[in-house]
Symmetry: C2
Subunit: 389 residues, 2 copies
């Protein structure tokens, strides 16, 4: 396999972008990434697009071709592949693009992730998000996406003594990081008490335990590592991509206080690279709910099982801590435009490894990890990124 | 790049499968392919799933994880990737799986394509099919999928003197082939006069110019060519995969009597392999409408521009003719469950190259081509397959 590097990044601000269409956002993020990589559209061999549900959010399937067209690639007939794995659609697009270069088929490839969520009603958003869970065995009986994660949170509290305060500390920490990120949807701090005072969504999860509904797009440019220096002085290598699945419905799992797919994916990633949890300098993990980050901290090996909450309360996951997590603000504060999220995670790690993360910079960051989840853990994708040696 | 072979095939019958769910169909096709390849689910490194719009047809996104789960792969945490490119989703899944093996990441991979179209109303099917065209610039103004292809047909008639009888001969020929295929949705012959007597859909296209609405699933098993002989005596090699895009909306094209993406994709495929049109022994081309096959015959180089109709009337595309096309019955007679179609095309070519196509066998077939279209030609994927040397 050829080694693959990231040579350009671009993203819109995340938020309720009433004045921008799906097309507008995709184009803006893509052009910013092309400019950052100093490549022109004629040099691009292929596009990969991560998107969960444009079919329902904007009644448009075939968004691979759409983005290729509106970003000006159709005139070169550049192939464009759309992938989907619920909330992990963005990481999946990066994985696919990585393989297309690793195989030798393509040289320079653009990856885009995008979702336009605010053009439909809140009820419809809820139905669409829930369609990443099991329609026949969960959502048809009234289970919603938050209620499935609430089951995991309640069980984690029961088994490990995880507390309301521990969950709150995760939201508070991510807002603190988000306040330092100019592209974050929420750029203000919240206190743990604010979380506890926010409206109940599904016991024990409250509104400020949940990532918001967001519009946004993010893009990266990839090429073989051996030609990366033609385009940039600070390439970041994708050391490996690892992916695992689990049952679609929660009731089929042996445990709902962990995500088995996270454990399998990260083991694959570490086995392939010879790295271990303690080698990671900075990580972006999936925190669509506070409980999701808490489980990720444990399943990725940053803290022992059952200790994710205490580990956070002790400040280990803040910038300056033992393993800074979600320095971007995470899904909670940066925002979660579903298909864009996995790409935005990678962009944050690239900024950290370039040493360009400004006030949220992790000192001497050399190795980063991203962790992107689809459904309730039915798909997990882990990427390891590093400063090339 | 490692060379890649197909070692197993499986598919459901195509049709209105009222008694089978999306899950049922996916499982049946997948198990048939695993049995054909004589592999077990434990040996599978990854799944790739082609599906256009389960989000709208059955209100379920994340169908990669769904298929992995219900086919029994979730217990091994096997990664599963869903891809989408409108009508070309099936071929895209094969392309992605091919690259994952060519890169060296995976060894044995299952590709599945599936669509469950008959659980929603005809009006909804029409809206969903049209969502592969341009929602903002075509369908919102009332254009439907058939009406866009009708524009192409009318213009082709105007520019090249293509006649009603020529279009009818394509439908009639595909039904003749379909009558020989036990898994085809329509296994009866129709006369060209039957097409002319069928109800008008969008002038000049009549009902029997259109592929039906179908349920169905199809699957293939891939592995590196160098280990294929462990599993089968008759592997079929995927010689190359080539893909191209074009504008999403028809009004942005220089010509609507050809598909530029077909021409670009097939040129790539021929350039990479050193093959040419006259080397192809059998082809499955996209015939969602009769005009689509007619243009494909020309754009793939089987007949000069403007001569596709006459070429068909002269019998060149029948089994026994110069270049048998759609020996399976094509989308028209075998059926068109969108995400399954590109996989079913490849299965037909595998059967031909294995010499197992029974009454529709093309004698001494060694090289085959598949041509799968998304939208009105905004995505085209061409695969070349061959008996390995």
């Amino acid at each position: 396999m050829r080694r693959v590097a990231i040579i350009g990044i671009g993203m819109t601000e995340f938020g309720e972008l009433w004045d921008q269409s799906f097309r507008d956002m995709g184009i803006r993020a893509g052009f910013e990434a092309l400019n950052d990589a100093k490549v022109t559209s004629e040099q691009i061999d292929a596009l990969y697009v991560g998107n969960m549900s444009a079919g329902r959010f904007i009644e448009q399937e075939h968004v691979g071709a759409l983005i290729a067209d509106y970003a000006g690639f159709a005139k070169n007939n550049t192939p464009s592949t759309r992938v989907e794995a619920g909330g992990a659609s963005g990481a999946l697009a990066i994985r696919d693009a990585f393989l297309s270069i690793a195989s030798g088929l393509h040289d320079i490839v653009v990856v885009g992730g995008a979702e336009k969520m605010t053009d439909v009603s809140d009820e419809e958003v809820n139905a669409i998000q829930s369609s990443a869970a099991d329609q026949e065995w969960e959502t048809i009986f009234g289970a919603t996406y938050p209620s499935l994660f609430a089951l995991m949170a309640a069980r984690h509290m029961h088994e490990y003594g995880t507390t309301r305060e521990m969950l709150s500390s995760i939201a508070s920490k991510n807002h603190k990081h988000g306040s330092l990120n100019p592209k974050a949807q929420f750029r203000r701090e919240i206190k743990p008490e604010d979380v506890i005072r926010s409206p109940m969504i599904s016991n024990p999860l409250r509104m400020l335990d949940c990532a918001p509904i967001s519009d946004g797009a993010a893009a990266v440019v990839l090429c073989p590592l051996d030609i990366a220096s033609k385009f940039t002085d600070n390439p970041v290598e994708i050391l490996t991509t690892a992916m695992a699945s689990d049952s679609l419905a929660l009731n089929q799992r042996k445990s709902i206080t962990e995500m088995a797919a996270t454990k399998v994916a990260v083991k694959k990633a570490f086995d392939r690279t010879g790295l271990k949890s303690s080698d990671i300098d900075v990580a972006e993990v999936h925190d669509n709910f506070t409980i999701t980050e808490l489980m990720a901290i444990e399943d990725l090996g940053f803290a022992p099982k059952g200790q994710g909450g205490k580990f956070t309360m002790d400040g280990n996951t803040l910038v300056g801590g033992q393993i800074p997590i979600n320095t971007s603000g995470g899904l909670k504060a940066r925002g979660d435009p579903i298909g864009a999220t996995g790409v935005a995670q990678v962009i944050e790690i690239v900024q950290q490894l370039r040493g360009k993360a400004d006030k949220r910079q992790v000192s001497d960051a050399k190795i980063g990890l991203t962790h992107n989840v689809g459904g309730t853990g039915s798909t997990v994708i882990v990427h390891l990124l590093g400063v090339p040696k």
